[in-house]
Symmetry: C2
Subunit: 423 residues, 2 copies
């Protein structure tokens, strides 16, 4: 009797999906990893690409190369059109389908502009390499245009950079733009002083880094202020145009470059599972990360609403996604073997965010610290987790160079802009 191998389809090659794939290899399964990109992206360093510190190739790695030595694993680059849970199959582009015995859904999240989709071209978010090179393009082009501008008000608007959202992405971008202006570009122009660029960070809540401890948020606030970033709390953005941003108290900020770091929404595939979703659209999973009513489907990463410590949710960052990917894979293997699954337990190892050149805030258990020591911890952890030996080598080279020379190597303006020009 020939027993055909069970097929596990993993959708999404981010931190969660890739970790699941690594754990499922070598167990006599037929593993299929599907992503619409050919590369895994090291998202925690994406802000460095957006601010010209690193090149796209340094933080991305082909999925095929990562999973190359696994004969039981197939990688497909395809767009997912839907999931048919009744027939247990995934619908791809070009009218193809892939059937599954087990499914791991890890498609993550995308930008959410709440009810303002028209803001997207005006204030790009930071999720993909294309987003990062577009933001880099806008930032560098703003300085170029300011250099040529003969109108004082226009020059001011060109040299004003607004970051919407005071989470880790907003903070890291604000710090990096401030450094770019104050150090890297400072001797490059004849007519403008890049040091005079205004960097404004707007957060709707009462403090920065809502998911971190208040002490870490205070440290971040101090570091940003030291770099010249002007932080505004308790104000929402009510309108964005090609000319600038209006805030909830009516204040208008004339700005040419606006970046969205305020909200994400889960991938729309969640709806195909006909499972209960939480308020923000994430799949409410069972304690073992499977979908209630569908023991053959697991959800992990930013798409899953996973409870941690009572009412709190697992933070939407790489460590949580990696642990969930591993947890889902382990429970899937237990299920195949007929063993009972075990509840997923998130181990919180800490949170961290960099603020500029050699400063960071790190929260480890009850301990928060900042400054150079925090930055060192941040650097070691990030380089350690960066997939691929070559990438690490290149990133260390880039960083050493930037650190000692204040230069940023990837200051390229490429591609065509989608920016709706004011004139």
């Amino acid at each position: 009797m020939v027993q055909s191998r069970s097929r596990v389809v993993i959708i999404g090659a981010g931190f969660a999906g890739l970790e699941a794939a690594k754990h499922l290899g070598g167990h006599g399964l037929d593993v299929v990893v599907i992503d619409r990109r050919n590369h895994h992206l090291f998202q925690p360093l994406l802000y460095q690409v957006a601010t010209a510190g690193l090149s796209p190739g340094e933080i991305a790695m082909p999925v095929r190369a990562i999973l190359r030595d696994r004969p039981d694993t197939t990688v497909l680059m395809a767009d997912i059109k839907g999931i048919d849970t009744a027939k247990r199959r995934v619908l791809l582009d070009h009218e193809e389908t892939v059937s599954y015995d087990y499914l791991i859904l890890a498609t993550g999240a995308t930008h959410s502009y709440f009810d303002h989709p028209e803001w997207e071209p005006l204030a790009p978010g930071l999720k993909s390499l294309e987003d990062a090179t577009e933001i880099r393009r806008r930032i560098l082009l703003a300085f170029e245009r300011a250099e040529r501008s003969k109108d004082e008000a226009e020059r001011q608007a060109l040299l004003t950079f607004v970051l919407i959202g005071g989470g880790p992405t907003g903070i890291e971008l604000a710090g990096a733009i401030a450094e770019l202006a104050r150090y890297s570009l400072v001797r490059d122009f004849n007519h403008i002083n890049p040091r005079l660029a205004k960097i404004r960070l707007i957060e709707a809540g009462p403090r920065l880094l809502g998911s971190f401890a208040p002490s870490a948020a205070n440290m971040a606030m101090k570091s940003l202020t030291r770099l010249g970033v002007q932080v505004t709390l308790n104000k929402r953005v009510t309108d964005i145009t090609a000319f600038g941003v209006t805030m909830s108290d009516g204040e208008f900020l004339a700005a040419h470059t606006v970046i969205w770091a305020a909200g994400v929404k889960p991938s729309p595939l969640a709806k195909d599972l006909s499972a209960a979703l939480d308020r923000s659209g994430r799949v409410i999973v069972a304690p073992d990360l499977s979908v209630p009513g569908h023991p053959e489907i697991f959800v992990c990463g930013d798409l899953a609403a996973v409870v941690w410590r009572g009412e709190q949710m697992v933070p939407e960052m790489a460590p949580g996604a990696i642990q969930e990917g591993r947890g889902a894979a382990r429970n899937l293997l237990r299920r195949i073997k007929g063993k009972p699954t075990v509840p997923f337990r998130y181990q919180h190892k800490g949170s961290m965010a960099t603020i500029g050149r050699a400063s960071a805030v790190v929260e480890l258990g009850r301990l928060s610290f900042d400054g150079f020591s925090a930055w060192t911890v941040w650097l070691v952890v990030h380089i350690f987790y960066l997939i691929g030996f070559q990438n690490r080598l290149l990133v260390i080279t880039q960083w050493a160079w930037s650190y000692f020379t204040f230069q940023r190597g990837a200051r390229l303006i490429t591609g065509r802009s989608d920016h709706p020009e004011a004139k």
Copy 2:
């Protein structure tokens, strides 16, 4: 009496323009360098970006950063709309003008599809970073699609890569694609064998590398054949569609990826000089590189038709452009000082082209050689000339990695394609 400084405007920050700018600094002039890009591109390595060996940031450097320490030099990023030689001014976008006392025109060349502009989206050429990432995208995507294809004829077409033009660019691309298929990608796929990819190089003339010695051309032919590239000589391409290429003898090659390396034409700004142009549209300059009738205008680089050894022209490669840029700057300085200008003399130091991983052909004087020693010479010369210490460091790191592991680090599919899909 206040004597205002003479203004020299240099258009184009390629090899010629940049070299001129370096020689004109520090002479009490007001030097303005205008380019529509913010970066200088190290064109000889562009084929490496197109074939995923290097990242864009590793072969490009911001013009401002290169010219930063020159207080008398201004860099402008602007599109040039025209040149008004009567009023001695350059017309920029946004209706700006810049007046000049002296002008150096070094805007180079762009792709020429002869009388077939409709071929451009079907067979991109390789001149800019965007061209390179688009070609990289097409090559990598062809393998991804072949992996998914269930139709044998379609798979064959997806795995056929046609290079049109047997000059250095066509040869270097053919060699690099052959390597990518035979070494870097070979273990990445489950359904296709990348080794079976067909790489076809089509040259209309009777031999490869028309501008090199015949012995070097023979060596290139042998090296390419060893890598599995099929070279077709004496056939022109008469039609290109989304399905493939038709040759002058009626043969049709079904191919999804077609790359144009057959011809360039000078920048259209040449026409604004109302100077005599040669058959291919280049400005016929006086022996001192100035424009006959306009002693205040110099032309250098690929835009200038410069005679060398009787009927032969200076080859359109970096060393010629650099020497012409220097020559134009020196004659401009002589003219300002009231000294007679001197005829430009091109020093031919040799020609070289790489063919794959560790092989090249090098022509030095009467000497031609190939293989590993040629590749070593090629590597040293290229890394030596690569502008910026950091770039060199990164490129050496990348190369060492690729050499010892056969891996190519920049295998990213990014951006939206302009490829007219067959279906």
